[in-house]
């Protein structure tokens, strides 16, 4: 996605990448990116939760004025489970593992 973002910026159109895989985002920096600490494949939240999707998008947009240089990643103040539980990581590992069985 970084390659495409840079290609769009080269045309004079600013971009905002909204991603969930921070280690990839760090290795191939986009011009402007926000990190959502949600499971990969659910960037905007849980299925059926339109209000959450809108909150995530609005939070991403709210970061736009804060970017001062290319390659920055800003962390959105959001978490998948209200209590901060990260049991979802096991689900993601299992999903990714299943792909290669």
């Amino acid at each position: 996605m970084s390659l495409i973002a840079h290609g769009i910026e080269a045309r004079g159109i600013p971009t905002l990448v909204i991603g969930t895989v921070r280690d990839v985002m760090e290795q191939v920096p986009a011009p402007r990116a926000v990190f959502v600490d949600f499971p990969v494949g659910r960037t905007f939240g849980r299925p059926g939760d339109a209000a959450q999707h809108e909150r995530v998008l609005a939070a991403a947009f709210a970061e736009l004025p804060a970017f001062t240089a290319p390659g920055q990643i800003r962390d959105l103040p959001l978490q998948w489970a209200p209590d901060g539980d990260r049991a979802w990581e096991a689900m993601v590992r299992e999903e990714l593992l299943s792909f290669h069985r």
């Binding site: 495409i4 290609g7 971009t15 960037t43 939240g45 809108e54």
Partner: protein
Amino acid sequence: MPLAYLPIQAAHAGPEGPRRLVQSSQPAWCDTVPPLDAARVALLSSAAVREAAQPPFVPPEDTSYRAIPADPAVTDLVIDHRSPVGTDARRDLEVVLPRAAFAALQRRGVVGTVAPSCFTFVGGCRLHQKIEGELAPALAAELAALDVTLAVLAPY
């Protein structure tokens, strides 16, 4: 601490080997972003989403793209990406392609206008030169033709 995905992917890489990440050979940066309430925004996704009547994507090494309606009322859409993390996206495409959220923010005046099309392609493709040399410029031209002033990219 964010989940580290690269070690998981590396440990379970297929015969083609671990994913190779490539940085842009021509980094670009627009130092001015328009005010959001005056911006014309477009959404791009690497989930390889298409209208059912459009030709299918052929992942993983497919560098084509599709323009699909930004109108969330158009629901006859298909995800061709073969990612194993698509369970929820197949239940509700909004979790990766939030067209309704874009429309809602436009109605509320948070964003100026939403371009009539979203653009989708296959994430994880390893044909980096074609992505940089062909796909990215083609998408940029589509966005320019729609007078888009802010592109939002959502990796799958």
